[in-house]
Symmetry: C2
Subunit: 204 residues, 2 copies
DNA sequence: GTTTGTGAATAGTTTCACAGCA
DNA sequence: TGCTGTGAAACTATTCACAAAC
């Protein structure tokens, strides 16, 4: 394909394709057609082909996509070809659940630091990660951690976002139901679980 | 506005507007302009006006939107004007975190039942909700619970979805990283937290 | 003067259909 | 024959600009 801006929707689907490729790799599958991969992931075959085509040709007509090649490509595209370290802020119920998440490893992601305001938690380990004082966020710059996860109550979200930005964080996963304002060189992705559930009755 | 199909993207934004209106109501604000509401929520004013316009005229030119009217309208649109009961399946780390979630109440949502496969958890209460045996899912139909939340490991997701559908559940929030197939009269919304984080390095 | 509601213009995304390659 | 890659068409959503309402 010539030159094209890559649709954001395509980027949103790439982790799904990565996960699919990982699964197939574990099962020692060597290659797969867009049709089979589509069935596995619950999407359309032409959508997969179009998405992949934005990044150049990596399939073989008549055969399909080589799994190992797919893995390498997608990891490079998503910049997940090296382990990415993230800092978790807020080790409450949701935060603790994230520390125990086995899924991050699939994407070469690692929660390398955790922070909380609660003195009873600070200094203790949760799922192998030491809980540090919020004030230590400023040391993140020297620890090659450039992603942040906000799982604090709504009222504290903006303040934490500011601290993370100041510490040199470049991407934030915001799990609070609060819009946070950041400089435009920092990317924020907000996921509000309650909002997902709130949308369901409409369709029922 | 004449007749128009409502964009799904509009529906996705409605819970955000509802949350904003709730906050303003608590602060005893009586009315707000699209511009002010937009600033509060981090969206565009014309987007808000367009979204609202799909449901008829509920603003006053020169003044703005009446908060109480807004609340009533959005709740009715999202069918959140009555309390909606949901069943949680999987009371592990993430599931337990959801049981403690204060946010669901904001949207008139209530986790009214919880199920797990682990015998040590069954019969005990977590955050006020009794953990029942997975086999009791079939009783949901008689308990006026028509929403389900799946927070079980990937491998069990489809099986749980099937059980929920069989019990008469109409909407499912799937928090596992697994595509689930359901009859087309059932709506599934999948939220994969790890996928959100996995997308961040791309933008960094 | 201020702010809504909305047709029209623009932008973005998905789907199709098929040429071209293995 | 089977499957990819991709322009073009169809569809969906966002942004604009301004008439009408307060």
């Amino acid at each position: 394909m010539r030159y094209h801006k890559i649709p954001d929707e395509t980027i949103k689907r790439m982790p799904t394709y990565l996960r699919g490729a990982m699964r197939l790799s574990e099962q020692d599958v060597k290659s797969i057609s867009s049709k089979e991969l589509a069935a596995l992931l619950g999407v359309n075959p032409w959508q997969i082909r179009k998405d992949f085509s934005y990044f150049g040709e990596f399939g073989t007509p008549g055969v399909g996509y080589n799994i190992e090649k797919l893995l390498t490509h997608i990891r490079k595209i998503l910049k997940l070809d090296v382990v990415r370290k993230a800092a978790l802020v807020g080790a409450g119920n949701l935060g603790s659940a994230l520390l125990a998440f086995p899924r991050f490893g699939t994407y070469s992601l690692e929660i390398a630091a955790a922070f909380d305001i609660d003195k009873r938690k600070i200094g203790k380990k949760k799922h192998g990660v030491l809980i540090e004082n919020i004030s230590a966020i400023k040391t993140l710059g020297q620890r090659s951690i450039d992603l942040g996860i906000i799982s604090v109550p709504r009222g504290a979200a903006q303040e934490i976002a500011d601290k993370l930005v100041e510490a040199g964080i470049r991407g934030i996963l915001n799990l609070s139901p609060q819009h946070v304002t950041v400089p435009k060189n920092v990317k924020v992705i907000t996921i509000d679980i309650a909002k997902g559930l709130a949308r369901l009755p409409y369709y029922v």
